[in-house]
């Protein structure tokens, strides 16, 4: 029987040719721009370019603001996700819509909305400035806020889904073992959703790192204060192509490094 030879069986394990072609096309879409970037990179000039003020300022600012935004998202986004997953309240679907809005809204619109609300003459920004002297727009705090606004939905959605899928009877079992609500959260709920939590934090951080539109609208483009890597790339593209390429390469390297590392360790479940 020819169709039972070992060779035929080995061939049977090969993926279908159509899927192979289409999948490779999909991969090419990701790889070709990277190749373009590499091809345009002035490799011998790279060390000098990377040492420049514009690059180091933007890299430092990007890392600081994206990490801060991720931390803030963790502190306020996880409780929000918990409430959405566990508490029955009217209009919950509306809340879910509001939470996911920053995902679909053009970031520049988000930035403008932040400005109207928290700007110097804004709805909240005005009394806030009067009372505390705190001015958010065109400051590093403004960058963090814009980043958090745009990136937090990734965390909230991921964690809410995980909490929804978690069998609540594990938490009940913990309660019968004498664990109060806080202990249950700390020792059972959060560890059990850890993979989703880490995935959500990673997505949030990655989104914050790449944030452009809301940041430039709300926080402006001041080197060393609000000019993050994407903003610096945008500026450099106009004036100094080589620096723009170097900055882009830094972004690719940082993002890829972190994502690959986390994927190895945490994302196997996804």
């Amino acid at each position: 029987m020819t169709h039972n030879t070992p060779e035929r069986r080995r061939r049977g394990r090969r993926p279908p040719i159509v899927l192979l072609i289409l999948g490779c096309l999909g991969l090419a879409l990701f790889l070709i721009p990277l190749a373009g970037l590499m091809a345009r990179t002035p490799w011998s000039e790279l060390p000098r370019l990377l040492a420049g003020d514009l690059v180091t300022d933007a890299l430092r600012l990007s890392l600081v603001t994206s990490v801060l935004a991720t931390l803030i998202a963790a502190v306020i986004g996880v409780p929000l996700a918990w409430l959405m997953a566990r508490v029955e309240f009217p209009g919950r679907f509306l809340i879910r819509g509001v939470v996911t809005l920053p995902l679909v809204l053009p970031p520049v619109v988000g930035g403008a909305a932040l400005l109207f609300a928290l700007g110097r003459r804004g709805l909240i920004g005005d009394p806030l400035g009067e009372l505390t002297g705190l001015v958010l727009p065109f400051s590093t705090s403004g960058v963090v806020l814009a980043n958090t606004f745009v990136a937090m939905p990734f965390l909230v959605i991921t964690v809410e889904g995980a909490l929804r899928n978690l069998d609540h009877r594990y938490e009940a079992a913990a309660a019968t073992l004498g664990a109060g609500r806080w202990t249950v959260l700390r020792r059972v709920t959060l560890p059990m959703i850890a993979p989703s939590l880490v995935a959500g934090l990673t997505l949030t951080w990655a989104r914050a790192l790449g944030e452009f539109g809301a940041t430039i609208t709300f926080a402006g483009n001041l080197q060393g204060r609000t000019q993050t890597l994407p903003l610096a790339v945008f500026v450099a593209l106009e004036s100094d192509r080589d620096t723009a390429v170097a900055l882009s390469l830094v972004m690719v390297a940082v993002s890829l490094g972190v994502l690959v590392m986390l994927r190895e360790r945490w994302w196997k479940a996804l």
């Binding site: 069998d167 009877r169 594990y170 009940a172 079992a173 913990a174 309660a175 019968t176 073992l177 004498g178 664990a179 109060g180 202990t183 020792r187 059972v188 560890p191 059990m192 850890a194």
Partner: protein
Amino acid sequence: MEGAVDGFGLDASFVARRGPDFRLDLSLSIPPGRTVALLGPNGAGKSTAVDVLAGLLPVESGQITLGGVTLDEPAADRFVPPEQRNVGVVFQDYLLFPHLTAIDNVAFGLRSRRLSREQALARAGGWLERLGLSDMAQRRPGELSGGQSQRVALARALVTEPDLLLLDEPLSALDVTTRARLRRDLAEHLDAFPGPRLLITHDPTEAVLLAEQIHVLEEGKVTQTGSADDIRLRPRTQYAADLAGSNLLVGKASGGRVALDGCELHIPSQVEGEVLVTIRPSAISVHRRRPEGSPRNSWPTRIELIERMGERVRIRTGPPLVLTAEITEEATLALGLIEGDEVWVAIKATEIGVETGAGSELS
């Protein structure tokens, strides 16, 4: 309601609701050192009873008292949350925390009660050793067999020295061979536990072997309460009658025979001591006169009850041993059997099932 328990037992009499359609109405009294079984089919409200006693579901009305302390009483506006009750629960599918090792699972309750990590691990380790699981201490639940998981769950429930032990279908997730072995172990651990114990089960064998008193629970209500024999001899509902029809008898085995109340049977096994004898109703034959040939287990008796169940006919025989036999309608007609008739019954020794591992209180 039964007489109140003095000292440190469980006294519960309550109505609880789950969803719009389900209502559980239950009265229970369990003295310390006694095991009561809640026996019933799926959906009867057994797990709801566990949730209520553990504090996971507040009652609608009534009162739950454990060791003289009121745990739940809406009329007095009193409700003790689960983490403040000292109730050990072995859940149906164990619910071991998948992210913790076996020993950390067992230590969980001690850590929650603010014991230091060292003390908690030492005591948890002691329990694992007692249950023969020392080698498994560092394994996660995903790496344990069903039987090992069950013992870890038991250790986790017992390590905090609870005032009440709840076992929700503790053996149902196990395969048949493991179940028989672990049932014997469980009987020993129950004996060693000083407080009241409630066993939730749908398996009459488990109820008879592990508990001194059985409550039959159907559709949220207790339809019958009593010893295994009470329910077997005087079933009050169809469900109880079906259970009774499975002829579960407790006796003492020795030298290939088992002594039951008022008679002796030959059995196909050489076990000694307390046993549970099971005889399928269809394995019992009914004859007009003394049967010839091999059956060593045969005796004359009287037909007490004839019940038609479709093609099958169920016959209850009288003393010396009350049994339920099931024969075909044809055979009944051919023999012309009616209630009150004098007949002979016969059972082949090989048709008698013998389960060891009965608790010492069973007689």
